[in-house]
């Protein structure tokens, strides 16, 4: 009986998540496009719903809601479904839509989509070889095989995004890095842009005029007959004209490239100017202040990651238990450990979940706006759904470390005996690489920008 009630609760919450994913898709991602293939929207919402259900189950685990058996059952069910979606459904549809976009392969769409899917499965399987992620007692068709590979991909993604985000966040928040842009800079750049456009226009006019004259002379040329016609035909199209035209065309191409560069620079300057204005407001000052904190946090994280790798240690206790230990042992404050540990870990895990979901959705939206077009929007949304699914599965994997021991067991039980330590080590390595290369990248970009303006 209680199992039935629990199932109804789970099902209702899943429907809610599905609805949220549907709305997000319609309102945010696809607000400039028309949804012609509803299958894409359904797949995206399903992925989102099942990923969120996993997080919900962790929360239920901590709070002790629902009976243990039904929780375990739902964990297993959820895991199977989400693996099914991430490994079979989404890649197949990605292949299908990619093939639909290519005109040559229109006839045998399904066949080619299956071919693409098999290629994906091959590489997916091969992914497991260089990593020590499985213990030898696992069979070839066990669920651990699939989860371990999904985990590797997801953890890599998480670490990359995390590393870049940790560096980029203080860089964008702090106004220390803002270049000084005045209105006259922007006006000067705009003037240059318009002058370049004028030059392009005048050259194109010349080409058009010359072409028209050639065409008209060509027409007259056809009408001329007889002796004078032959004489005229010798001088009608000077051999230099064709050459001349191609020279002008080359100049036009160079000028067009220049105009594109100038336009992009103008956009950048306008964006910087807006950020300067924003930093003078109250909100801007608040974010600037936050930026300093985040930069310290970022440096600390990089430091910790290096230490972990160099000294080959993996944290055994989670921050909650360690915090409680410190307070009890060093500060001598006595309180009901069991009660507080449950609530604090609930809050901590809740914050982690909410911020990671929100952060990921915002990043995905920005990414989507930047690169999608009307042709590729379906493919890109599905790729984003794939990334989202893998990201959430790996968050569950890594979150194990942030929870006290008594709550870890369910995750360990459900996901099977994976080498969790390996994932944490891998996360640290990729995080370090990503953070350091982001610092390098931002440094170069920052240095290059004022030089570009010096040459003006």
């Amino acid at each position: 009986m209680s199992f039935l009630v629990d199932s109804i609760i789970m099902f209702t919450s899943q429907v809610l998540f599905f609805g949220f994913g549907w709305l997000f898709f319609m309102r945010q991602l696809f607000k400039d496009y028309e949804v012609r293939q509803y299958v894409v929207q359904v797949v995206f919402s399903v992925t989102f719903a099942f990923s969120c259900t996993m997080f919900e189950l962790i929360i239920f685990e901590i709070l002790g809601v629902l009976s243990t058996t039904s929780r375990y059952f739902h964990w297993k069910l959820n895991l199977y479904v989400i693996l099914l979606v991430l490994i079979f459904v989404v890649p197949f549809y990605i292949g299908y839509f990619v093939v639909s976009n290519i005109r040559l392969l229109q006839r045998q769409k399904l066949l080619f989509a299956c071919v693409v899917w098999f290629t994906f499965m091959y590489f997916f399987w091969k992914l497991g070889d260089p990593f020590p992620i499985l213990s030898p007692k696992h069979g070839i068709l066990s669920i651990e095989q699939l989860i371990s590979r999904v985990g590797v991909i997801g953890v890599t993604l998480m670490a990359l995004l995390s590393g870049f985000g940790a560096v980029n966040c203080p860089y964008t928040y702090m106004s220390y890095f803002l270049r000084n842009v005045t209105d006259s800079d922007i006006l000067a750049l705009e003037r240059r842009l318009l002058q370049t456009m004028d030059m392009i226009v005048s050259k194109k006019k010349r080409i058009a005029m010359t072409r028209r004259m050639m065409y008209q002379r060509g027409e007259d040329h056809n009408k001329q007959t007889g002796f004078w016609g032959m004489i005229k035909s010798v001088t009608s199209t000077p051999p230099g004209t064709e050459n001349n035209l191609s020279l002008i065309q080359q100049e036009v191409d160079a000028l067009e490239e220049l105009s594109r560069q100038l336009f992009l620079e103008t956009v950048e300057l306008q964006a910087t100017k807006e950020r300067i204005e924003y930093s003078k407001t109250f909100q801007g000052k608040y974010f600037n202040f936050l930026g300093y904190f985040f930069s310290i946090y970022c440096v600390w994280k990089i430091f910790m990651a290096t230490i972990n790798i160099v000294f080959d240690r993996v944290g055994k206790t989670d921050p909650v238990t360690r915090g409680i230990e410190i307070t009890v042992n060093y500060l001598g404050i006595q309180f009901d450990v069991k009660f507080w540990s449950q609530h604090i870990s609930f809050i901590l895990v809740g914050i982690i979940i909410v911020t990671s979901i929100r952060g990921l959705l915002i990043t995905l939206t920005k990414f989507f706006y930047a690169i999608s077009s009307s042709k590729s929007s379906n493919v890109i949304v599905l790729v984003l759904a794939q990334i989202m699914g893998m990201y959430f599965v790996s968050s569950v994997l890594l979150m194990r470390m942030s929870m006290p021991l008594e709550y870890r067991t369910i995750v360990t039980e459900v996901l099977g005996e994976l080498q969790f330590n390996f994932y944490h080590r891998w996360f640290d390595v990729i995080f370090l690489v990503s953070a350091l290369s982001s610092i390098l990248f931002l440094y170069l970009a920052h240095k290059q920008a004022p030089e570009k303006h010096m040459t003006m």
Partner: protein, 236 residues
């Protein structure tokens, strides 16, 4: 090549509707082989015979400015784009017949281009709602072009054409529906070619021959004449 000789027509519309292909077709009478992303603005020149077939026939070089981007871009991109909207003599609005949203976005596009003087940063002040009054006093000739005509299935054709007819009526403009990869739609003598010719004639007429012309001269004057709108500023 003084600026007095220019006839400038803007070509606006969402990304991917086919503006670059359309401009190439209008200027070179050939189909564009490899359309690619337009960054910023790309200009092309169309040779137009004003009042063709009459004794007053004269050749004008009209510039078609194809501005890339989407209507939901960041405000920095919109401010950067606003520099192209100066001294516009005509406006071609392009939408994709297979995508309803691109037609709806045309209202916002036209407001962005025509309203640029009412706010210095070029950002749309209204919430994008259609305001008939603004279009009633508009002096800039408009033309609405629908692309990808060949991709509409036969049974949906009537519905789509009715919708676009309403759209063109809202803008008080003519409309042309075509497929940019097929020059047949603009073959000489077809009704589309006649509408196009009439549009360009109207643009040239407004530019050179009418007292109520809509010139804003040049770039620096925009700052001087501020919120004067685009009427009654003409240099003779």
């Amino acid at each position: 090549m003084a600026s007095l000789d220019r006839v400038k027509v803007l070509v606006l519309g969402d990304s991917g509707v086919g503006k670059s292909s359309l401009v190439h077709l209008l200027c070179h009478n050939r189909v564009l082989g490899n359309p690619s992303w337009t960054v910023g603005c790309s200009v092309d020149v169309r040779v137009h015979d004003y009042k063709e077939g009459t004794p007053e026939e004269k050749t004008y070089y009209t510039e078609l400015w194809d501005v890339g981007g989407s209507v939901g871009s960041a405000s920095s991109v919109k401010s950067a784009r606003a520099v192209f909207y100066n001294a516009v003599n005509g406006l071609i609005l392009v939408h994709d017949l297979t995508n309803k949203k691109s037609s709806q976005n045309l209202y916002r596009w036209s407001l962005e281009a025509l309203n640029k003087d009412s706010s210095p940063s070029g950002v749309i002040v209204t919430n994008g709602d259609y305001d008939r009054e603004q279009f009633a006093e508009n002096q800039v000739p408009l033309l609405v072009i629908g692309t990808k005509f060949d991709q509409i299935p036969e049974n949906k054709r009537n519905e789509v054409l009715t919708r676009t007819a309403f759209l063109a009526e809202d803008f008080n403009a003519e409309e042309i529906n075509l497929d940019c990869t097929n020059p047949r739609y603009l073959a000489a003598g077809s009704s589309n070619a006649v509408k196009l010719s009439r549009f360009f004639d109207k643009v040239i007429e407004k530019r050179y021959f009418t007292r109520d012309g809509n010139q804003i001269s040049g770039f620096s004057d925009r700052k001087r004449f501020g919120a004067g709108g685009f009427k009654n500023l003409h240099n003779d």
